[in-house]
């Protein structure tokens, strides 16, 4: 452990607040590095001084009569009833609702069949009828997107040229 990292840990080590294992490693560093050891001692001295100041300066307590009076005021109050709290956490409910909406939207788009454009033939036989050729002369390749369900159909004539359909 180097001195730069040590600076981070010294304040916590001095008054307690670090795991024992880490404390051991830091103390081992102090043996090798007098500068860090000196800093740790300064921290300890400063904390002791602050504690000494705090303990020495005590507030004025209630007088016996004042304390009795205060207790009488406090105990004249009613002890409140236990609050019955129906703990509905809105976060999980909202998250579940959102997940449900997303799921429904996803299912809708996945299962929805793309509507054929009116006037466009979607099968070789329909195209053959439209182009006034025999169905055997037309072949097709269909590509369906797994993600969006989009369907693209390519029609070829007997020379394997892309067939223009319609008029």
């Amino acid at each position: 452990m180097n001195c730069r990292r040590m600076k981070k840990y010294v304040p916590l080590l001095s008054g307690g607040g670090l795991p024992a294992q880490k404390g051991k490693r830091i103390r081992a560093h102090f043996e090798r590095c007098p500068g860090c050891g000196q800093e740790a001692r300064e921290f300890e001295a400063a904390l002791k001084a602050a504690k000494h100041l705090a303990v020495a300066d005590t507030p004025e307590d209630w007088s016996q009569a004042g304390w009795r009076k205060m207790m009488a005021v406090i105990t004249s109050e009613k002890v409140g009833r236990r609050k019955v709290v129906i703990a509905i956490s809105f976060k999980p409910v909202l998250a579940a609702g959102l997940a449900l909406v997303l799921l429904a939207a996803g299912a809708f788009f996945l299962l929805k069949k793309p509507a054929n454009e009116p006037g466009r033939p979607s099968s070789p036989s329909a195209l053959a009828a439209a182009a006034q050729v025999r169905p055997e002369e037309i072949s097709s390749v269909t590509i369906v997107s797994q993600e969006t369900g989009l369907k693209i159909i390519w029609f070829f004539n007997k020379d394997l040229d892309l067939e223009k359909f319609g008029k």
Partner: protein, 190 residues
């Protein structure tokens, strides 16, 4: 929570209000001390502590007997002190525009006597002045009241990591302040 405390809580809840005094008696001075260090004034400290005891009495039924009664009281006190300070800050903002400002400031100093005590107090307050409110709370709970980091975190309603971060910053600031302004205090404690 000790069996004796559990018994006293049961007694208070069943209507024996005198048991409440016995229940809070061990915490009277520590809570008053913490309130004093947070508020810097004996009168305010008594007011804050009274408010904390009143809340503890009113909400005793909500206290979970499996948890520490001491930590519960500390938590109530820290909240009461925060509320008090917010209220005081609002009042001071209003008073700051009027002629009563000086009188209010005098009143908030409190009637403490004795030069030595005032000196001690001013040194402590000078050290605590450099801290942010959260650093001050963490420092007072961990280093002055000797609570653990986990207890401090529960009382303040934050994580142990947050307590460590604020504690580290608070100790660094206190050390720098004592070193620069009150080095004689460190000499005596080395």
């Amino acid at each position: 929570m000790s069996d004796q405390e559990k018994d006293l809580v049961e007694r208070v809840l069943s209507g024996d209000t005198a048991a409440f005094e016995l229940l809070i008696a061990p915490y009277r001075k520590p809570l008053l001390g913490l309130a004093y260090r947070m508020s810097r004034n004996s009168e305010d400290a008594r007011e804050i502590t009274q408010d904390a005891f009143l809340r503890a009495f009113k909400y005793l039924r909500n206290f979970d007997a499996d948890k520490s009664f001491k930590n519960w009281l500390y938590k109530i006190l820290v909240h009461a002190a925060r509320n008090f300070q917010n209220k005081r800050a609002r009042e001071e903002r209003v008073l700051a525009s009027g002629p009563v400002k000086e009188a209010a400031a005098r009143g908030s100093l409190g009637p403490e006597k004795g030069l030595e005590r005032r000196e001690l107090r001013s040194r402590l307050m000078d050290c605590l002045d450099v801290l942010t409110p959260r650093e001050k709370e963490v420092f007072l709970l961990r280093d002055i009241e000797d609570l653990t980091i986990r207890e401090s975190a529960r009382i303040l309603g934050c994580s142990a990591i947050s307590v460590r971060v604020h504690l580290s910053a608070a100790r660094s600031k206190i050390r720098n302040r004592i070193k620069s302004r009150h080095p004689e205090l460190m000499e005596g404690n080395k």
